[in-house]
Every structure is written in C-alpha cells, then in structure tokens.
C-alpha cells in the first residue's frame, strides 16, 4: 500500500548528513503548574525525517512550537541551525522562521483571505516582496508543487481537509525553508489522502533537501516516512531509534501503544 512512499524514504535515507540542524536538551514547559514537557531531548540531522509519536496531550505540539518560539519554554536549550533560539531578537527570530517552516495541525489557513492571498501573506510580510509579478510566479510555483493550481482563487472554507493541508504546506514551502515541522499532517484524513500527503512530505524533502520533524499518531505514516522515531511519554523521551526497532520492542508501554494500532510486530 505505501510501497511507493517507503521506496522514496529508503532512497532519501542515504542523504542523511552528520550535521545536527536542531538540538534540544532538557526542555521543560508547564502550563498553570501542570508540567507538559519534562526534560525532552531531541536531535535532528540534516536531511533526516524524524517522526515524533506519543499519545494525545503529551506535548508534541508544544515541543515543536518551542522550536519556532511560538511558545517560550521554562528551561532547557534549543539550538536551530547553530543558533540559540532563546537568545534571538525579533529580527533574528523572523529570519529563523524563514528557515524553519511550520505546517499546522489544523492547516491554519486564513479564513478571510483567498488561497492566493494566503500564500502571498508570508511573502509580503516576511520577505517584503510586493512586486505582483514575482508574487504570482511564486504562488503558482508553490501551488504546483502540491498540485493545487486550480484552487488559487478559492476560499479556504470551500476546500476539503486534504486540500487545506496541501495549501497549508504550500504556504510554508513558499519561503524555501531548510527545516520543515509538520504537526500531524495526516490527522483526520482518509487512508488514501493520508498516503498522498505522506508522499508529498517525502517529495518535498527530496526536492528541497529539507530536514523534517513530523508529529503523528498514525503509525502507517510513521513507517512510510520515518528515518528515526521518538516516542514521548509523560513529557520525556521514552524511545529513540529507527522504526523497525520500535516494532520489535519488548517494552510493555510501547507494546500497548503499538497493539492499539494493530501494527504487526515484525
């Protein structure tokens, strides 16, 4: 079923470098005295697809929001592309956000703007491009990459969940990021559409040489695209290794999690 995606993934894995693009150590974050992240460590190598697994509410979204400073952690180190994220001024944070693309769990398209305006927004706002010719060209290129050229003048409300995901990814890609963070790219989609999104994620990585962190609940998705998997539990890393190692594990907690998804442990 996901042979195609798996194939691309294997091809890609040869491209993983040794350079670390994201390095997180001992990350802590609480909301109103409720600890969410409890000392998370994470390393992302150049060209790697890292999948973060974990139950709902373990703080996966909080973790990647800390990487782009949408949430400020209580303690810990975050280094992205060699820069200490927690010591950047607002100009530098803007620059960081050009290099690190964030694809949101709910797509987060602006309801009050058409697809075109949605894609132009980061170009005008972050890159300060106002030449309509360049804008059009970039918008059409980005839409082509996610095969959504026909939707350019539609409103987000008229698109399906899968289409919104694609547009959301296009809006992120338009800034040519070096790192992509995907927050549950396949949540709420049917298996065929999920498969298409998985392939899109891999294609993007291949074409742009990006490194990616992908958050998911979907083990099929994880198997298709992961070079490495991290399993978060109670705000800590519980497992860190390749996907095959995860499925062969004897750890009772992971076994319960895997059984729940009926993954054949092979």
């Amino acid at each position: 079923m996901d042979k195609n995606a798996r194939h691309i993934a294997e091809e890609n894995s040869s491209a993983i470098g040794t350079e670390t693009v994201i390095r997180i150590r001992n990350l802590y974050k609480s909301f109103d005295d409720t600890p969410v992240l409890n000392g998370v460590d994470l390393d992302l190598k150049k060209g790697e697809n890292l999948v973060v697994l974990g139950r709902s509410g373990t703080g996966k979204s909080v973790l990647i929001k800390c990487i782009v400073e949408l949430i400020t952690p209580d303690a810990g180190e975050i280094e992205v592309l060699g820069k200490d994220v927690r010591r950047l001024n607002s100009e530098q944070i803007n620059a960081l956000r050009r290099d690190v693309g964030f694809s949101f769990q709910l797509s987060a398209l602006y309801d009050s703007m058409t697809v075109r305006e949605n894609l132009e927004f980061p170009l005008k706002r972050n890159l300060k491009i106002f030449d309509q010719k360049i804008l059009n060209e970039k918008v059409m290129n980005a839409l082509e990459e996610v095969s959504m050229e026909h939707a350019v003048d539609q409103w987000p409300a008229d698109l399906s969940g899968g289409q919104k995901k694609r547009i959301g990814i296009a809006r992120t890609l338009i800034l040519n990021p070096k790192i992509m963070l995907y927050d549950e790219p396949t949540a709420g989609l049917d298996p065929i559409t999920s498969e298409e999104i998985n392939e899109l994620v891999l294609e993007v990585q291949k074409r742009h040489g990006t490194s990616s962190i992908i958050i998911t609940h979907d083990l099929t998705c994880a198997r298709a695209i992961a070079n490495r998997v991290i399993f978060l539990y109670n705000g800590k890393n519980h497992f860190d290794g390749p996907f095959d190692e995860l499925t062969q594990t004897q750890d009772p907690l992971l076994k319960t999690f895997l059984n729940y998804y009926n993954i054949e442990a092979r």
């Binding site: 050009r98 709910l106 398209l109 009050s112 927004f121 972050n126 809006r171």
Partner: protein
C-alpha cells in the same frame, strides 16, 4: 469548610490574574498603537468592514427611534401646552443621550460579537500562530487595527445616527404640526450647545474604544475548542454592553464639568 475556603482563595486568585491580564492587554494595545510599524491598510479595511456592517442597521434603527421618541413625548408636552418646545426637547435628548447609546448598542451586538467570534476562531484554528511565524505581529495586525477602527468609526456612526434620529423626529413632528425641514433644524440647532455635540462624539469615541478592546480581549484570549469561540462572541457582547452603560454614566459626570 476547608474546601470552600480554598475554592474562594482560588477564585480570588484567578480574578486577580484576570485583572492583571486585562491591564497588560490594554497597555500593550496602546503602546503598539502609537509605535510604528502601523498597519494602516488593515485599519482602513477594518473601518470599511464596520461601516458596511452597521450602516443600514444604525440608520434604520435611529430613524425609527426618532419617530417613536417624538410621538411619545408629544402628549406630555401637549398637556403643559408646551408643544412648541418639542424640537428642543427631542434634539437635546437625542444628541446627548439617545444617539450615542443606540449606536453603541447596535455596534456592540453587530461588531463586538463579530470581532469576538472572528478572533476566537482564529485563535482556535492556530491562524494567530500562523501569522506570527509569517513575520507578522498578530497583536498589531489583529487587535490594534480593530481597536483603532472601532474607536474611529463609532463616533462617526454616532453623528450619522443623531442626524437620522432628528430626521425621524422631524417626520413625526410634521405629521401633526405645521413645520418645515429648515424651520425644524433651525429650532434644533438653536437649542443645542457645542458641548452637546461634543459630548455626543466623545461618548461615541469612548464606546467605540470599549467595544473594540473588550471584544478583542475576549476573542484573542478565547478558550481552546469550538465552545471557546461561542463563549468569546457571547461574552464580548455582554461585557461591551455593560461597559457602555457604565461609561455613559461616567461621561455624564465628566461632561457636567464643562457646562
């Protein structure tokens, strides 16, 4: 026993935290309002939106209120044989009190709920986060623009409402008495002082600012989930209305000082 005590302390604590949040929200709004960069295009767009949403509603309602108020005041004046005072009485009541109030009530219902729901749903669906990673300060782009827009538009709408209310009042007067439009408006402006018109606009300014601040606060800080959006819209309206009445009372005291 112990339980009630801790619950009350918690309630007090969350009330104080809320108060501090509101204070920092308001001061942040004013700070960002006066410091560049200014989102002037977005402010214009918001002004236009508010105008479009309320133009007919405010106009029509004001016209009707003008008619009804005049029709209902007339018998009392007749009783005292003071019917010729009708234009003065009506114009003072309209410009000082009714015009600003009716405008504020409509704007709170129409604009306040809209801002609350819009920002609330943007918050829930991560659109505010998305703006932030696109190199835009969402507070400036969403909150400051809306507060400025309501603060500028509501006073304009008040003048418009005053005018249409007076016009409605003229129609109601003309049915029973010999009058003409120039004569009626001559009587109106004869009985009005500058302070009256100034207070009408000042109230509009204060009401507009209150509606903008309250509904932006509710929307921007809405709870997560779809329930949060409905609640944000609802609380925006209720709190705006409440504040409008309080401000009405306070501005009365202030304006008395200028008389």
């Amino acid at each position: 026993m112990q339980d009630t005590k801790t619950r009350n302390t918690n309630r007090l604590k969350s009330f104080l935290i809320n108060l501090a949040n509101i204070f920092s929200f308001v001061s942040k709004t004013f700070r960002k309002m006066f410091l560049p960069p200014y989102e002037s295009r977005e402010i214009l767009r918001q002004c236009y939106q508010i105008g479009v949403k309320t133009f007919f509603l405010v106009g029509f309602t004001s016209f009707l209120v003008g008619i009804v108020f005049t029709r209902q005041s007339r018998p009392s004046l007749l009783e005292f044989g003071a019917e010729s005072w009708l234009p003065s009485l009506v114009s003072i009541a309209i410009v000082r009190a009714l015009g600003p109030l009716v405008t504020a009530l409509i704007c709170a219902g129409r604009v306040g709920s809209n801002i609350g729901a819009e920002l609330g749903s943007m918050n829930v669906s991560e659109q505010i986060d998305a703006m932030e990673v696109s190199g835009t300060d969402p507070f400036r782009y969403l909150v400051v623009t809306r507060v400025v827009a309501t603060t500028l538009m509501v006073p304009l709408l008040v003048i418009y409402a005053d005018t249409l209310m007076l016009f409605g009042s003229f129609i109601a007067t003309a049915v029973f008495n010999q009058t003409s439009l120039p004569l009626f408006f001559y009587q109106v402006f004869d009985s009005l002082e500058f302070v009256d018109i100034f207070s009408s606009v000042l109230k509009g300014f204060l009401f507009g600012m209150a509606i903008g601040l309250v509904s932006c606060y509710c929307g921007y800080n809405s709870g997560r989930g779809t329930v949060g959006v409905g609640r944000a819209a609802n609380i925006s309206v209720v709190t705006s209305l409440f504040l409008v009445f309080i401000l009405d009372l306070l501005s009365l005291q202030v304006i008395e000082l200028f008389r």
